[in-house]
Amino acid sequence: MTAALFAVLAVLAVTGAVLVFRCASMARATFALLASLVCVGGEVILLGLPYLGVVTVLMMVMEMVVMAVFMVAYMMNPAGLMPMSMVHNRRGALTISGVVFAGLAAGVLLAPWPGRVGTAPQDTTFQAGAALMGDQMLTMVTLGFALLATMVGATVLAVGRGRYDRFGDDLSRPRPDDPAGGGVGR
């Protein structure tokens, strides 16, 4: 049963992946990607990591929806209605990815994978949680900081208007003159 499920999900994932770059419509590409990633989430759940699988699905859904928003915001032809090709160097990319795939596949098939060592604990989520909060605390902290940095960095980059636009040249204005109003402390 799991093998069948694996096969289905695998095929779905790969087709979803291929569809991403075949669709003219950006929305379709995004949701094809979403489908592919949900299948990957399913695979993960299948491999006995329910929490990570569901979290992946949860995160991917929200991410893909946000991507869709950006896709529509920035792409010239989001709905794919106008015939245009936003591609370059297809043959080179194809050859390289082909070669990479061949290499990886060869590696996977030829590598003498060792047997399993130890058995999975009853509650894998607990195992992950204990590890993250225990031995791998450093990783957790690093990821935490990375995320914080990303949030701050992304905000700074994305926001068009700086402090001085809002609070005046010498930051003396009491109330920031944001176009949309709102904001705490008014």
Binding site: A27, F31, P50, V57, L58, V61, M62, V65, V69, A79
Partner: protein, 309 residues
């Protein structure tokens, strides 16, 4: 601990959910009639159901260059999300899928409504539905994080992500009692992801019905159904999380669950009427600046309690 769902329960749960949704719809219609001054007759209660037939028979309208596939997927997502979300809810001891990560599953399924609503908005290739879709995203950003922290608070209180365990953990004291903020935020979020009442912003009349604007026929029906199903699912989930699940002095587990669910539904419908519509950007500001810190502190309380135990 609720026993694992056997095969037949897979059918019973959706049926029960549908029943609840219809019940909610009728009571809502009754309330509408009463407020409109009409007599609260069974006929008034049944009026919304007539729409179902109307919609089934109506000729679906088509917009030019609409993305039919995505549109249909969007519309289907809403009800399926509700049904899948209810799968983990224990109904007085019986649960469809007793997942270890029930809470996260519920959250994931609830997140699917984002995709569904956006696709519904994008499908017709029309401005107003698209704006409705965007409105739902904005609203989603607002309610999502407080909801997550509320769920986490419950999970932390029960030291497990399994909904059954959470219900069992409330033997002594219901979570709603010593996690009021979490409970309130949860209820608001249920309203939010079913875009009803104060959170009906994505389907607001100022943008001609928003996501529901261009839908017609079966699509519209499915959307409307999804909406009420989500409401019912949310209420159902509230019971094991904050109201102690099937526990109760006299009646059997499932009875208590039913009663509590109806109570929550009533509360929500009442709330839908009382609270005025809230614009998404205002709610986002309130949610991020006030609710998130509150829920974080709320989550801290059970964490400390658990640590000290």
């Amino acid at each position: 601990m609720a026993d694992a769902g056997s095969w037949p329960s897979v059918l019973v749960a959706p049926a029960a959910l549908l029943a609840l949704a219809v019940l909610a719809l009728c009571s809502d219609a009754v309330l509408d009639a009463r407020t409109a001054g009409r007599p609260a007759t069974p006929a008034a209660a049944v009026r919304p159901l007539l729409d179902v037939v109307r919609l089934l028979l109506a000729q679906p309208r088509r917009t030019p260059a609409s993305d039919a596939l995505l549109w249909r997927i969007g519309v289907l997502t809403a009800p399926t999300a509700a049904v899948l979300a209810v799968a983990v809810v224990p109904f007085g001891g019986h649960v469809v899928a007793d997942l270890e990560v029930g809470v996260v599953w519920f959250n994931a399924m609830e997140a699917l409504t984002w995709a569904g609503l956006w696709l519904a908005g994008w499908g017709p290739n029309a401005a107003l539905p698209l704006i409705g879709g965007y409105r739902f995203l904005a609203q989603g950003l607002a309610y999502e994080l407080p909801l997550m922290f509320a769920l986490i608070a419950a999970a932390v209180g029960a030291e497990s992500l399994n909904v059954g365990d959470i219900a069992a953990a409330q033997q002594g004291l219901w979570f709603a009692v010593w996690m009021p903020v979490a409970f309130a935020v949860y209820l608001a979020s249920v309203l939010a992801f079913s875009f009803l009442g104060p959170f009906g912003y994505p389907a607001g009349r100022d943008i001609a019905g928003g996501v529901l604007g261009e839908t017609s026929g079966v699509d519209r029906l499915l959307l409307q159904a999804g909406r009420w199903l989500l409401l019912a699912a949310g209420s159902a989930m509230a019971v094991p999380l904050f109201l102690g699940g099937g526990a109760g002095p006299l009646l059997p587990g499932w009875a208590w669950s039913l009663l509590k669910t109806l109570a929550v539904l009533g509360l929500l419908l009442w709330a839908r009427r009382r609270v005025p519509a809230v614009r998404a950007d205002r709610y986002v500001e309130f949610a991020w600046m006030v609710l998130i810190p509150a829920t974080i502190v709320q989550t801290l309380v059970p964490a400390l309690v658990v640590l000290r135990r």
